[in-house]
């Protein structure tokens, strides 16, 4: 029962945060909204016994990603009037329709699942503790884990290539 309540509360928080992100005129508010959503989701992970994921969620997203976002927002500067002016009504309606349609489609898609879905979480009771996850991660998924190296290298390289300015690069670029 308590679980249910928690779920409802944090689900609501997540939705609300998302809504804030969606609506807020000030990007900072949007960022904060998203942040709260992420926290809420982290809580839900815990409800799902995915402890490690929850932790990582907090660390990476709340800790790193959103900080980065906020930093960039600050860097770019918040207050540029007009830049975030309201969309014309028509577009908002269209957006709403599409989003709702998307949701509705998914909901319908899962229709049977939603109803016939197993009463509670099914068989073997899964516990996303560090070791269970680690087992999997460094067992079955080792190669993939290693493969992420490529991705991260790219991320690093890309950032350098895009953001790292030095004088002669400028010249060449200009040439």
């Amino acid at each position: 029962m308590g679980e249910t309540i928690t779920f409802i509360i944090f689900a609501a928080v997540a939705i609300a945060g998302a809504a804030t992100m969606l609506m807020a005129r000030n990007p900072v508010y949007s960022a904060v909204g998203l942040l709260s959503t992420m926290f809420a989701i982290a809580i839900l992970y815990i409800l799902l016994d995915a402890h490690l994921v929850a932790v990582v969620q907090v660390i990476i997203y709340a800790g790193a990603v959103m900080t980065l976002f906020l930093f960039v927002i600050m860097l770019i500067g918040v207050d540029r009037p007009g830049a975030y002016g309201e969309r014309p009504l028509s577009q908002r309606i269209m957006t709403g329709v599409v989003a709702v349609g998307f949701f509705a489609a998914l909901a319908l898609a899962g229709r049977q699942a939603w109803v016939t879905g197993s009463s509670a979480f099914g068989a073997p009771d899964l516990n996303g503790t560090i070791e269970t996850v680690a087992d999997e991660l460094f067992g079955t998924w080792t190669i993939v884990f290693l493969a992420t190296v490529i991705l991260l290298t790219i991320a690093a390289l890309g950032t350098i290539a895009l953001a790292y300015f030095d004088q002669d690069a400028e010249e060449e670029g200009a040439s």
Binding site: E3, T4, A11, A14, I15, A18, M21, L22, P27, L34, T37, M38, I41, L44, L47, L48, A50, L52, V53, V56, I60, Y61, A64, V65, L68, F69, V72, L75, I76, R80, A83, Y84, Q91, T95, V98, A99, V100, F102, F103, A107, G110, W114, G117, A120, F121, G122, A123, L126, G128, T132, V133, D135, E136, W141, T148, L151, A155, G158, T159, L162
Partner: protein, 101 residues
């Protein structure tokens, strides 16, 4: 009533749809990007919920990988946005429409 996986899936779906809406409606590149992050989060939620439901740890691992990927995406994305901001002093994507037709 107990919380079934269904609830989580619906929540995920809802969040994802809101992300979609965000991409469609927001004009600020950063917030569009945030919406995408939101979508990825909902994906993770879905993964984890399902892994719980089916008792398959893979779901959670997948979620972790998605996070990693998202992180990498963020760095690049922000780098691009910053780079553009350097020129146009704005993150308003509507002003980036000289390539068209």
């Amino acid at each position: 009533m107990t919380v079934t996986v269904t609830w989580y899936l619906l929540l995920g779906a809802a969040l994802f749809s809101m992300g979609v809406a965000g991409v469609m409606i927001r004009r600020n590149a950063l917030i569009m990007f945030m919406s995408i992050e939101l979508m990825l989060n909902s994906v993770n939620l879905t993964f984890v919920a399902i892994s719980k439901d089916l008792g398959l740890i893979e779901g959670q691992v997948a979620a972790l990988f998605v996070m990693v990927i998202a992180a990498a995406e963020v760095t690049i994305g922000l780098a691009i946005i910053v780079a553009i901001f350097r020129k146009k002093a704005s993150a308003n994507v509507d002003e980036l429409a000289e390539l068209k037709g």
